[in-house]
Symmetry: C2
Subunit: 111 residues, 2 copies
DNA sequence: AAACTTTTTCGCTTAGAGTGAAAATAAATT
DNA sequence: AATTTATTTTCACTCTAAGCGAAAAAGTTT
């Protein structure tokens, strides 16, 4: 996919690979759809991050979903849609999902 | 909910009840989100139609989902989201869903 | 067929998603 | 540490989806 294991990649490279603008990735981050590792201010995307973003991108571009729908499915741990995401990617994203859910419970508490 | 069993209601009344414009209901129909019975050209919404529309409206207004996402979940018979819809409403909507899926398979064939 | 409804079409508005360009900040290099 | 280079952030703009107002067209009713 991008060569070596456990490497991480700068935003511009990832954006190119995904075929989106880097500003789009910043935008997704605001919606907690991704959370790249940071050294200082600079972002580093892992392989799992990138595959996750591919998955998100497809939901948006291929299927026409919007951001809110995707975050809703994440929060409800939706099987039907999320299961289309590669097992290992979802695994490595799980910790992050938990973190996100906790934050969401604090901010707004419905459900 | 609206009184008597097995009755049906004209679009303006339903729109009022749901708190949306009747044009919105025509709009949803284009996206195959609802399919009211028709006598001639005139539409008649059943109780199940109305409850289904309430469900859809909440997904859109409360959760911020878009139409494409909802139709995707329907096509994938998504449990997590669709299960929030009353059993009986979903039941009476099932025949319609099957019909919708068949049409979709003819038009575009992916999946 | 006149009066009244419902449907359809056209065009406008608002908000979400995405991006370009430049300003601000950080990182790297000499 | 000062200059160059890269990244982040902000601002403003575009494009499309969702929704609705108003009027024209088609249907119903009496």
């Amino acid at each position: 996919m991008f060569g070596v294991e456990d490497k991480s990649y700068p935003i511009e490279l990832v954006a190119d690979f995904l075929g989106v603008n880097s500003r789009t990735l910043y935008y997704y981050e605001k919606f907690k759809l991704v959370c790249p590792m940071r050294r200082g201010k600079k972002r580093y995307y892992s392989k799992a991050d990138i595959e996750w973003l591919e998955f998100v991108r497809d939901l948006m571009y291929r299927e026409g979903m919007n951001l809110k729908s995707i975050t809703l499915l994440i929060r409800r741990r939706d099987q039907v849609v999320l299961s289309k995401c590669p097992e290992d990617v979802l695994d490595s994203f799980k910790n992050y999902l938990v973190k996100v859910e906790k934050n969401l419970e604090e901010e707004e508490d419905e459900e």
